[in-house]
């Protein structure tokens, strides 16, 4: 996770687990349940399968997700 243009959180999921964090006015939950990954922001899952990279853009002015993008490279 990047905040203020810097890496603020760096997690490698080798085992199932969950991580909670506050971002802006929202609640962020990063989770791995068995082999299912989730990026929940205010209880909405923004993680998309099918590409190598997911970029979820949260706007601190708007206090909401403005884009949820998936890339293969």
């Amino acid at each position: 996770m990047y905040e203020d243009c810097k890496v603020a959180l760096d997690i490698t999921w080798k085992e199932p687990g969950v991580h909670h964090r506050k971002i802006g006015d929202s609640a962020l939950v990063l989770a791995r349940v068995k082999n299912v990954y989730q990026v929940l922001i205010d209880e909405v899952d923004h993680y998309q399968m099918g590409g190598r990279w997911n970029i979820i853009v949260y706007d601190k002015i708007l206090n909401q997700v403005t884009a949820s993008l998936v890339f293969s490279e």
Binding site: Y2, C5, V57, Y58
Partner: protein, 332 residues
């Protein structure tokens, strides 16, 4: 400035455009299918809290049937969120016509909805009004376009305007309220299908008799004084979309500047709510990073904006080798 009226008002006047182009601080205080007695109620509510210099009334609901033809949905939309007051009770009575179970269901909406407890879904807690930032200042944004081109060429058809006496009575009440509160009243009609010259003329007669200005954008379009793309500027046959609203609002802003003494609020020393609203809209809109073709390209576009938090996942990451292709700085 306060804008009141039906959906034709808040799908037409875009306060952010008025502010960006003319520095006019306006608010769309309308409701769907707002009957004229609700327009009176809304104006009273506005005057309780604000001192608008201009009140713009969209006159769509002046024509056609009276209060008893208004749908329940229109009344609920208009009444539910208005604070309880003597004026609200009077307005409910005018709309329902009796003090009965229906009347009380508007006073205490719980009577209408309490049996819904079995059918509540997540949608009941996440409806679009949940965003309390209200950055549109009452305007209803959409860039959707009507599937078929709108027809405004029936404007010159013959006919007679149908204006109920009770609507004239409520118009007079609005005129009185504006005078009492030192606000100037402007009547306007948004462009839509099935609006005709005879309706324009009937409304103009009413406006002239009350020494009130009236601008009809159907008439202006018909006279080539307003450019609209009928295939692209409407969300449906009665309502403009963002593209059309921008055109009409720009025209209205120019008219307001020429005819009223409205201050340029962009000159305020401190940022005001409209400045914030402009920032919101700017950030909510489409951005180039949304169509980046690679993760690296996307991150390079985003990395200089400190107001973004990015959650980046990499399914093939190896410890110490990710950091989004190396385009972000690491924390110290």
């Amino acid at each position: 400035m306060i804008v009141i009226g039906s959906s034709n008002s808040f799908c037409t006047v875009d306060p952010i455009v008025l502010y960006e182009e003319y520095g006019i601080a306006a608010y769309d205080f309308g409701s769907s299918s707002q009957p004229m007695n609700l327009s009176v109620l809304y104006l009273k509510e506005a005057f309780r809290r604000q001192k608008p210099k201009v009140v713009a009334l969209e006159v769509n609901m002046m024509v056609g049937g009276g209060l008893y033809n208004i749908s329940e949905a229109g009344l609920r939309w208009g009444l539910t969120d208005i604070p309880l007051s003597i004026d609200k009770l009077k307005c409910i009575y005018q709309s329902v016509g009796a003090v009965n179970a229906e009347y009380f269901s508007y006073v205490f909406p719980m009577f209408r909805y309490h049996s819904r407890w079995k059918e509540l879904t997540k949608l009941d807690y996440t409806y679009f009004g949940q965003d309390k930032t209200n950055y549109t200042k009452g305007y209803l944004e959409t860039q959707s376009v009507s599937e078929t081109a709108v027809t405004l060429n029936e404007y010159d058809y013959d006919g007679d305007a149908w204006i109920e006496e009770e609507n004239i009575h409520y118009l007079d009440e609005i005129v009185r309220l504006c005078k009492k509160n030192n606000a100037e009243l402007l009547l306007f009609k948004s462009p839509k299908e099935n609006w005709h010259r005879y309706e324009t003329e009937a409304l103009r007669t009413l406006a002239d008799a009350r020494d009130v200005r009236f601008v009809d954008y159907n008439e202006l379009f018909y006279n080539d004084a307003l450019e609209l793309d009928l295939a692209a500027d409407f969300r449906d046959d009665e309502h403009l979309n963002d593209f059309g609203a921008r055109k009409v609002t720009s025209h209205l802003g120019q008219y307001l500047k020429e005819n009223y003494e409205l201050p340029d609020r962009r000159a305020d020393e401190k940022p005001n709510a409209w400045d914030m609203a402009c920032t919101y809209r700017e950030r909510k809109g489409w951005k180039a990073y949304m169509v980046a073709t690679t993760a690296k390209e996307c991150l390079e576009m985003l990395q200089e904006d400190k107001n973004f938090i990015l959650i980046v996942t990499d399914t093939k990451a190896k410890k110490g080798k990710r950091r989004a292709s190396g385009c972000m700085r690491t924390a110290k």
